[in-house]
């Protein structure tokens, strides 16, 4: 009888971690600067850059939608993977519950952002 070997799911989570780490390393600092500092202070960027019509149009655009989705979703898959694997360093022996909580946060956020972004239409 041939033994059926169960394939590990680790490469999927690791892949999401790598993609999210890379994407956030490239874009998140500038994103924070734009949405959290420049726009609220009315500094550098034109007034109304993030007005409702502009942002709705951006989120309805295929590329804009994809960008927002990728930043939110992949950043979280990256973060939860790193947090999950760091628990050991803090003396927490992470079990199934911790894994479910960590990856669950990323999964729910992915679903919510996809649902809302798709709901905005094209």
């Amino acid at each position: 009888m041939t033994k059926i070997r169960k394939r590990s799911n680790a490469p999927i989570f690791w892949g999401l971690f790598g993609a999210g780490g890379m994407l956030s390393a490239l874009f998140v600092p500038m994103m924070i600067f734009i949405t959290g500092i420049a726009i609220p202070l009315g500094f550098l960027l034109p007034a109304g850059t993030m007005s409702y019509p502009k942002m709705l149009a951006f989120a309805q655009n295929f590329i804009g939608k994809g960008f927002i989705f990728a930043i939110i979703s992949l950043s979280l898959w990256f973060a939860v993977h790193r947090v999950y694997h760091s628990l050991h360093e803090f003396g927490i022996h992470a079990g199934f519950g911790a894994k479910l909580l960590c990856y669950g946060i990323a999964f729910v956020s992915t679903v919510v952002s996809a649902f809302v972004l798709l709901g905005l239409g094209f």
Binding site: L26, M30, I32, G36, P40, L41, L45, T49, V83, G91
Partner: protein, 132 residues
């Protein structure tokens, strides 16, 4: 069950004794900053989906001094994430061979950081173009 209580040395704060591990813990914790920002953005997307009034409340909330300070802290954390992510890039990716020789780690990290700065500026430029 044995009534013996053998001494187990505590591992609390083990990483504080070595600067290498202190840096490791700092760069690992940058994930929390990235996550915090992703949640702020997620709230923004949800508010956008709820219509103009909800969106404007979100924009207004971002103007509070507390929000600005939080974003400055997040920015520092995110920049450190970028720096540390590319600093360990030579270890995490397969060796790059140029002209039969392995590319020096500093060259790899340096060029990746240049790419990161360029990506950030390109994003800013793009947002500017869309805004006009």
């Amino acid at each position: 069950m044995s009534k013996r209580k053998p001494y187990v040395r505590s591992m609390d704060g083990w990483w504080k004794k070595n600067p290498y591990f202190v840096e490791y813990m700092i760069h690992e914790s940058t994930a929390l900053f990235v996550a915090a920002y992703a949640f702020i953005l997620l709230v923004g997307v949800v508010r956008l989906g709820q219509g103009e009034a909800a969106w404007n409340t979100w924009l207004e909330a971002l103007k509070s001094p507390l929000s600005i300070v939080c974003h400055l802290v997040l920015l520092a954390g995110a920049i450190y994430h970028t720096y540390s992510w590319f600093k360990i890039l030579p270890i995490t990716m397969p060796p790059v061979i140029v002209g039969g020789k392995k590319l020096a780690p500093e060259v790899l990290t340096g060029s990746a950081l240049v790419v990161a700065v360029a990506a950030g500026l390109a994003l800013l430029g793009l947002v500017w173009r869309i805004a006009l």
